[in-house]
C-alpha cells in the first residue's frame, strides 16, 4: 500500500528535476549568450605571403604574437604613465599597449567634465595658490599606493613639477579627488613617492627658493634659499592628504632631484639625490657661466639620507617651526639630530632607486658611466656610530663614499633610472647611449644591452619598483622618436617601447607613440589588483565621496526659485532630461543639479549649455552640480554630449534667459 505513496512522490521529484533541467538547457539561449565570433583563420592565413607583403621578419611576427590582443581579450598589466605637459595620467594596457584612458589631473579634461562642474572646479582651484588660475601641470612621477611595499591598487599620486603640487587619484573610479599645493616651495621633482604603507606621500623640491615663496635676491642664495623634503600625510580611509598632519624637512639650497622611500630593511628612510651642490645661479647675461656649467663643477654631489621616523618624532615633539601652516623641521635640527645625512654621489647624479629587498640604493650619473649601489646596512652603521667624513657648508654630516657603497657597476654612458625583475636583475636606462642595460644585482656585472629609440629617460618594469617585481616586461620611455613614426609636424611624439624580459635575451616587441606630452615616470601594476566601480550608486558625487544632497530620483525633478537664485533638480536618462525647459531671468544665479538615473554599465550621458562653458559627464548614477550667472539673455539649447542611444540627438532641451524688464 505504501508503494502508491512512493510512486507519487517519485513522480513529483522527477517532474521537479526535469523542470529545472529544462530551464537551463535552452540551446538557442546558449548560442545567443556565446555570440563570440570564432571564425577560423581561413584560407588567407598564408603567413609567409603576409610577412613578405608587409616586410616582416620572424622576430616581428613573434613580437606581434606576444602583443596582439584580439577583441574581448584583456591586458595582463596596466601602466599608469605620467602625461608630462598634458598634466594628466595615461592608462595603458600591457602587452597590447593600447591606451585605455587619460585621467584628468592638473588640467581640465572635457570628456570627463573635469573642471567644468562645481566640485571638480574646486579640486582644480585648490591647486592654484596665486592670482593666476593654473590650467596645466608638468606631471612627473605617478606612484601607486602600497601596502607592505607592494602595490595595492587603491590610489595613485602624482606630482606637478612646475608648480609644486601633488594630486590624489582614487582608483575606485579613476578620478582625481584632491590637489594639494605646496605653500613653501615652487618646483618639485622628487615626488610623488610613497612610504611602504602609504603613510606618507613624499615630495621634494627641485629648484631652491626662499621657503614660503618669499622674495630674496639671488645674492642671498646660500642664506635664504632652501630646499624641502615634504611628507604629506595620507589618510587612506578618507582617501585624502591631510595637510595639517603633514610636515617637512628643511634642506640646503641644492637641487634635490629624485627620491625613493626605503622598504623592508630600509623602511623608515627616504633617499634623495641632488645636483648643483655648487649652488650655481647662472648670470649668463653678465658673462658668468650658465647654471649647466656652474652646477657641474664638483665630481660629487650629495645623496640625501633622511630618517623620516625620527623626523616624525621630532616634529611631534614640537621641534618644528610652522610656516604657512606646515610644520618644518629646521635644517640645523635635522642635521644635529641625525635626521639628515649626506653621502657623495658621482658626477651629475640622477635616479635613486631602492632595490626590492631594501638593502641597496642605486644611483646613476648622467656624466658618469657607473651605476653606484649604496649599501644601506653600511650607511645605517656609519650613522649609528657617527662615523662621518666631514660636514657640508650647512653642518650636515657627510659619510665617506667608499665606506657607504657595496660597489659600482660599469653600465655605459648616461645611466639614469633603474628598475628590477624577479630574477635578481636590474635594468638601467642609458640616456646618452640610448640603451637599456641589464645587469646582475648580485655581482654588479652588465649582462646585456638593448638599443632603444631614442634618448631613454625613465624606465619601468612590471611592479619593478616594489618589494616583489614580476619580471616579464620592461618599458623604455624614450624622449625622442626621430624616425620611428610617420611625421606629424615638428613636435614629435615620445616613444614607449615594450621589451619582453621573460627570456634570457631582452626583446623589443612594441612601439607606442605618445602624443600628449613628455611622460616621465610610470608604473606597471597587475591588472587584477584593480577593482574599479562599473557604475556609481544612484546620486553619487564622486568628488564629495558619497551621496550628493542635491541628487534627485526620477519623478522628483523640480525647479525652485529663491529670490534671484534658481535651483534646477534635473535627471538624465535615455533619452531625455527632466525638466527639459528652464526659464530664468537675466541676472539670475542658476544652480543645476543633474543626476543620471541610469544604472546600466557604460551608459553615459553628457550635458552642455551653449555659450556658458558648461560641459558635464554623467556616468550612470553620477550627480554633478554647476553654478553660473545667467548674464546673457537669449535662447540656449542644451543637449546630451555622449551618443547615448538611438534618440541621442533628441536628448535636448532649452534654457530661456529672459532679458531684464521684459
Amino acid at each position: 500500500m505504501k508503494t502508491w505513496m512512493w510512486r507519487a512522490t517519485l513522480a513529483g521529484v522527477v517532474a521537479c528535476a526535469l523542470g529545472s533541467a529544462g530551464a537551463c538547457t535552452n540551446k538557442a539561449e546558449q548560442q545567443a549568450a556565446g555570440q563570440r565570433d570564432t571564425t577560423s583563420l581561413g584560407a588567407s592565413a598564408d603567413l609567409k605571403t603576409l610577412m613578405a607583403a608587409r616586410g616582416l621578419s620572424e622576430a616581428d611576427v613573434e613580437a606581434a604574437l606576444k602583443t596582439y590582443t584580439p577583441t574581448g581579450k584583456k591586458d595582463e598589466y596596466l601602466i599608469f604613465a605620467s602625461g608630462g605637459h598634458s598634466g594628466q595620467i595615461l592608462v595603458i594596457g600591457v602587452p597590447s599597449m593600447r591606451q585605455l584612458k587619460t585621467i584628468g589631473v592638473f588640467t581640465p579634461e572635457p570628456w570627463q567634465g573635469y573642471g567644468y562642474g562645481d566640485e571638480s572646479n574646486k579640486v582644480l582651484a585648490a591647486g592654484s595658490q596665486g592670482t593666476h588660475s593654473l590650467g596645466w601641470g608638468d606631471v612627473h612621477h605617478p606612484n601607486l599606493s602600497e601596502t607592505n611595499g607592494d602595490y595595492d591598487g587603491q590610489f595613485i599620486f602624482v606630482n606637478d613639477k612646475a608648480n609644486g603640487r601633488v594630486a590624489v587619484v582614487d582608483l575606485a573610479d579613476f578620478m582625481t579627488k584632491q590637489i594639494v599645493a605646496n605653500p613653501l616651495v615652487g618646483s618639485d621633482h622628487g615626488g610623488a613617492f610613497v612610504t611602504p604603507n602609504t603613510d606618507y606621500v613624499v615630495e621634494t623640491s627641485q629648484y631652491p627658493t626662499p621657503l614660503g615663496r618669499e622674495y630674496a635676491p639671488l645674492s642671498d642664495y646660500k642664506d635664504k634659499y632652501r630646499g624641502l623634503a615634504m611628507f604629506w600625510k595620507f589618510d587612506r580611509k578618507k582617501g585624502r592628504i591631510v595637510p595639517e598632519q603633514s610636515w617637512g624637512v628643511e634642506l640646503p639650497p641644492y637641487s634635490q632631484d629624485l627620491a625613493d622611500a626605503g622598504k623592508k630593511v630600509s623602511d623608515g628612510w627616504v633617499f634623495i639625490n641632488s645636483f648643483n651642490t655648487e649652488m650655481a645661479t647662472g648670470g649668463t647675461l653678465q658673462g658668468k657661466p650658465a647654471i649647466e656649467s656652474g652646477a657641474s663643477q664638483n665630481d660629487m654631489d650629495y645623496l640625501h639620507i633622511i630618517d623620516w621616523r625620527k623626523g616624525e618624532q621630532l616634529v611631534n615633539a614640537g621641534k618644528a617651526t610652522t610656516m604657512k601652516g606646515i610644520r618644518v623641521l629646521p635644517l640645523q635640527t635635522a642635521a644635529a639630530e641625525g635626521v639628515l645625512t649626506f653621502v657623495g654621489e658621482p658626477k651629475s647624479p640622477h635616479g635613486c632607486d631602492v632595490t626590492p629587498d631594501g638593502a641597496g640604493i642605486v644611483v646613476g650619473g648622467k656624466l658618469d658611466t657607473h651605476g653606484t649601489v649604496y649599501d644601506f646596512a653600511k650607511i645605517k652603521d656609519l650613522i649609528a656610530n657617527k662615523k662621518f667624513e666631514g660636514k657640508d657648508a650647512f653642518g650636515v654630516p657627510v659619510l665617506a663614499f667608499k665606506d657607504s657603497i657595496r660597489g659600482q657597476v660599469e653600465l655605459g654612458l648616461g645611466p639614469l633610472h633603474t628598475v628590477f625583475d624577479d630574477k635578481g636583475n636590474a635594468y638601467t636606462s642609458l640616456f646618452l647611449e640610448s640603451k637599456v642595460a641589464k645587469w646582475s644585482l648580485a655581482d654588479l656585472k652588465t649582462l646585456e644591452k638593448l638599443s632603444v629609440h631614442y634618448n631613454i629617460g625613465h624606465i619601468l618594469a612590471a611592479e619593478g619598483d616594489t618589494v616583489s617585481p614580476d619580471g616579464k616586461y620592461v618599458v623604455a620611455m624614450n624622449k625622442m622618436s626621430i624616425d620611428r613614426f610617420t611625421p606629424v609636424g615638428p613636435l614629435y611624439p615620445q616613444n614607449f617601447q615594450l621589451v619582453d624580459i621573460s627570456g634570457d635575451k631582452m626583446r623589443m616587441i612594441y612601439d607606442l607613440p605618445i602624443g600628449d606630452g613628455e611622460p616621465h615616470y610610470a608604473q606597471m601594476i597587475k591588472a587584477d589588483k584593480l577593482h574599479p566601480e562599473k557604475i556609481y550608486p544612484p546620486g553619487t558625487n564622486p568628488y564629495l565621496g558619497g551621496h550628493d544632497p542635491n541628487a534627485v530620483e526620477g519623478g522628483k525633478e523640480r525647479i525652485t526659485r529663491n529670490g534671484d537664485t534658481v535651483d534646477v533638480y534635473m535627471t538624465a536618462v535615455r533619452s531625455h532630461f527632466v525638466p527639459d525647459q528652464i526659464e530664468v531671468n537675466e541676472g539670475d544665479t542658476v544652480n543645476l543639479h543633474i543626476t543620471s538615473t541610469e544604472q546600466a554599465e557604460d551608459q553615459t550621458h553628457g550635458f552642455t549649455i551653449d555659450m556658458y562653458n558648461i560641459n558635464l559627464s554623467l556616468e550612470p548614477g553620477k550627480t554633478e552640480n554647476v553654478t553660473f550667472k545667467a548674464d546673457m539673455p537669449g535662447v540656449y539649447p542644451f543637449y546630451c554630449t555622449e551618443f547615448c542611444s538611438a534618440l541621442h540627438l533628441e536628448m535636448t532641451g532649452y534654457m530661456l534667459v529672459k532679458p531684464k524688464g521684459k
Binding site: 500500500m1 507519487a8 512522490t9 513522480a11 513529483g12 530551464a23 539561449e29 545567443a32 549568450a33
Partner: protein, 249 residues
Amino acid sequence: MQATGAPGVPRADTHKHLRAFADAEGGAGGTSWGYGRRWGVVALSLAAIGTDVGSLFLDWWKLTLYAPQYPHGLRLTMSLRGMGGDVREIDMLNHYIGMGHLAHAASFEREHAVAGVGVLALMVLALTLLAGRKAGKFIVIPGLAFPTIFLADAYYWMRSFGHNLDPHAPLHIPAFTPQLFGNGQIGQFMTFAVPAAGFWLATSGVLFLAAAVVVRWRVCRECPRAKDCGRLCRAALVGPRLPPKETSR
C-alpha cells in the same frame, strides 16, 4: 492478529472511541484500518503545502534578453512576491515603446501572495483532514489551480502591458502580447522565457496533491464509515494504529 500484551492481563484501552467505531462498522479494515494510507494522505498533503510555501522564495519565471550591446544579457525574474533582475534597465528600454513600469504590474497579487499561499495551505489541510469523502476529492483543486492561476495572471498582465502602450511613445508598435514561454525576437533583442524553479516546485505540489487524492480515495473506499460518510470526515484520518483487542475474534 497477533496479541502483544501478556495473555490474561487486562489493559486500559486508550483508543476506546476508535475501537468502538471500528467495531460498530464490523471492523472492515481490521484494527489497524488504513494506518499507512491515512498517514500517506497527510504526508502528501503536507508535501504539497511545503512545495507551495517553498515556491514563495523562488523565482517562477525567467526572461533573458540578449542584444549586441548587452553581451551578458538582461534578466527579468518573476516570483510570487515581486520582480527581480534588470527591472530598471528593462523599464528604461520599454519606455521607448510606451510600455508601463513593471512595478505597476500585478501589484495586488504580489502584495497578497503570502496570504494567498497561506489560505491555500489551510484549504489543503482542511480538505485533507476534515472533509468527507465527496469533498475530499476536491483537495486537488486549489493546489492544481495554483500554477495555472499564476500563468493566467502573468499572461493577463503581459497582454495588458502589451496592449496599453503610450500613444506618445517615441516608437509606435502594434499592440502585442509578450511571449510567456519560448524564444522570441523584439528589435535587436533575442528573448528567452522559461518557467523557473518556483513554478516547477509548485507543479510538483500538484502531483503530490493528485497522489494524495488517489490514496485518499482508497482510504475512503475501505473506511468503516464509508456508507454514511457526511460532509465532515469522522474517520479520524490522523488517528493512531489501533492496538489489538485483548481477545482475538
